[in-house]
Symmetry: C2
Subunit: 505 residues, 2 copies
Amino acid sequence: MEQNVEQVLSSFRQLVRKISSYHEALGLLGWDLRTGAPRKGAEMRADTIGMLSTEVFKLSISEEMGSYIDFLSRSEIFDQLSDIDQRSVTECRKEYERSQKVPPEKIQKYSSLTTHAQTVWEEAKHNNDFQGFEPMLAEIVDMNREFIDYWGVKDTRYDTLLDMYEPDMTVAKLDAVFDRLKSRLVPLLQKIQESSDKPDNSFLKQEYDLKKQEEIGLFLLEQMGYDFQAGRLDESEHPFATGLNPGDVRITTHYYPEDLMSAIFSSLHEGGHALYEQNISADLVGTPLATGTSMGIHESQSRFWENIVGRSRVFWDHYYDKLQSLFPDQLADVTKEQFYRAANMVENSLIRIEADELTYNLHIIVRYEIEKMIFNENLAVADLPKVWNSKYEEYLGITPPNDAQGVLQDVHWSGGDFGYFASYSLGNMYAAQITQTMRKELPEFEQWIAAGDLLPIKEWLSDKIYRYGKSRTPSELIMAITGEELNPDYLADYLEEKYTEIYKL
Amino acid sequence: MEQNVEQVLSSFRQLVRKISSYHEALGLLGWDLRTGAPRKGAEMRADTIGMLSTEVFKLSISEEMGSYIDFLSRSEIFDQLSDIDQRSVTECRKEYERSQKVPPEKIQKYSSLTTHAQTVWEEAKHNNDFQGFEPMLAEIVDMNREFIDYWGVKDTRYDTLLDMYEPDMTVAKLDAVFDRLKSRLVPLLQKIQESSDKPDNSFLKQEYDLKKQEEIGLFLLEQMGYDFQAGRLDESEHPFATGLNPGDVRITTHYYPEDLMSAIFSSLHEGGHALYEQNISADLVGTPLATGTSMGIHESQSRFWENIVGRSRVFWDHYYDKLQSLFPDQLADVTKEQFYRAANMVENSLIRIEADELTYNLHIIVRYEIEKMIFNENLAVADLPKVWNSKYEEYLGITPPNDAQGVLQDVHWSGGDFGYFASYSLGNMYAAQITQTMRKELPEFEQWIAAGDLLPIKEWLSDKIYRYGKSRTPSELIMAITGEELNPDYLADYLEEKYTEIYKL
């Protein structure tokens, strides 16, 4: 390589490393705020987060960054670069170009708007007052419509938003996938509702000691290979995972005294996110590639560990004895089978975040279809409650009694995160599809789980997914692992098989 | 004020606020590293801290900062500014000029040197090998000698270093003060050693439950007015206090199973530092003045609460019953008087950080005199062990059996912190002098403590010291509060009176 290329490359690497360091600081400031920062410091903390966010944004769109990207993107130079450098340049160029296209004052305005909207949404939800949120939501939608114009439209306008969370995902692909999924899940849900042999989960709602809940959570995290030398478990209002760097990936959970499974499943869920970030290859540290490749792939890992492993019969074949011995008063008379069925109860409830493995996807499809209507068919914000309610009736067989339990339930739109929801269901579909390959390549898959030997599973996932971080796109990964594109039938097959057995359909 | 002045002032304020935000982030990154950050993230964390430190240093010596300071310092403009703005400008100018005087590559070199020296010192101390540390220490001393040339000499060369930690403190002042103190404390210590009626503190070295130690620590912090809405207590290897902003001032302690008083006194000590930072006026937030005015004044507050309050007879008159009821097995047969005497045991030990209220000052005087010899009389680094040992023999009547327990014991010199040690004794002297005034202005001082009513004392200190932050110099504060300059006799009087009674001299 020429001297000059080496120099620019070295400066470019330094700059992206600096950006990584800012993200690490921001990650810690945010983690601290949610896990135990003193209340009276919150205002100054918000300022500090705002300041550092602005600094890192400035770096990512700086002239310096622009000149490195321009130079390193010239094909005769780009072709000489290593795979990691090429992917880093591409990633930075993507963000640089996206940000350059929108006038800075619009970005500023949008940032204030969405910060303010959070509070307005909270209040509107609290008061069950959609009209109170409507004008602001309309403004957020309008600004997103404007941004789509700035960023440019590929196929449909909504594609531009989807691509931010799931690179290369399109309405054309998702329509096909979700229609297929819907066509199989809606009838399955109907059959389940008609089943006369339903599980009883009332014993999960007794009083469960919080210390013991923590004990089992820590134990299961260790079992799945979460590295406590590279992370820690804390409590927060809502569980989350945050990766400061692969050596520091923290998770949180929330313990409820009268709900045994909430903390257990959230620990497995966040633990799945964390395994991904902890096992990213050391080569990628300090580059923009040292993170999960997309929201959908990230979610596939949390849902793999929470649902496919953590809600499986073989998992509790092994771990139920331990759980029972921790809570003899509550579980002594509960059989493994009763417990397994209770942990897999299906309910067509109104609230997404409380939904089971099956109906969750229907909650997502409702949101996907509505967002698509907003951006591709100019659905008016004022009409959202009506459309929301009719889709809930159609897919889940229930109509929300009010907007607080309907269209106002999620935080996402107040933050302008249109295009995000699909990730949750993509996660479920990716997870099922990847599992199908894993079962072929690791025929001992079920025996291992039944023996409490989860580490070979973690190793396989590290090898196929985790280590690559963002250096492979979601579709490259899925194709390389499973040999085919995203296919919703694996999820539908898995759910059909599982629930046919549980509900004796 | 003219338009232009307003504009520059506003930009200046924004810049110093940005600097404050960086310090908040750095404070949290450091706190986290010492209280529970995962081990495997430490290397990347060090990078992040290094990067943000460099950024904030660049801001403080930026052309932008230089131009604001130049403009705002013009006397016709400076005179129009508010007191806070004047003090902010002065503070920034001081740091700006100091940093400008040294070539950046020297600062860079010094920073690497002292980072590296930390590890070398630790190893040398561990191996009791002064020669292993000597070359590096000599280099650090040489660079400090060079820096003194860059920064300029006022009266003696060592003054230039003292001024960094205690503005306006000089060898001339300290020589007088320490000579006086030494002349009174050395004979007092001899009398104590000859006393035939010594306390027994063996009962403090039984096994004490850690949870209960935490309970009493939290209770006492609450009693002294530490605001848990604006702070939190954690554990760390060495106790410390860190103020991210007045709404977020955190403290740590360390619990030892076989030492009852260590965690209690360290909580009172760090709590004293924290009361100072929590009660800084809101006007100063986001300026360089929102911190303690000097190391000496800061230390006066930690030592006031730890020693003058926390080691007083009236304090334990009130709180001993509670302590006894927490630890009945260990303390049932121990009277208040026995406990009070044990908590005030004097021992001429070798180690500064384990020293009592009296001998602590002699440990400091040894270090002060040696540092003065290094910088004012060119004492060679190779001669340090010899000088150290002879001064310990002279003032404390003991000779260290090896360098690990002698000249190698402190971390300070490996970090280049020459001039810092004096602050500890200054803290003791300031505390005694301020207490003398407090007793006059608050005649109920002792009754309040005896009644467990500590808040009026905190209020008085907030009013006289805390709220001002760095907007008053140490000498301004001491003069305003006590009406005279630093006077070592208050400390000597206090110690003589206290120990004459305890040791029945």
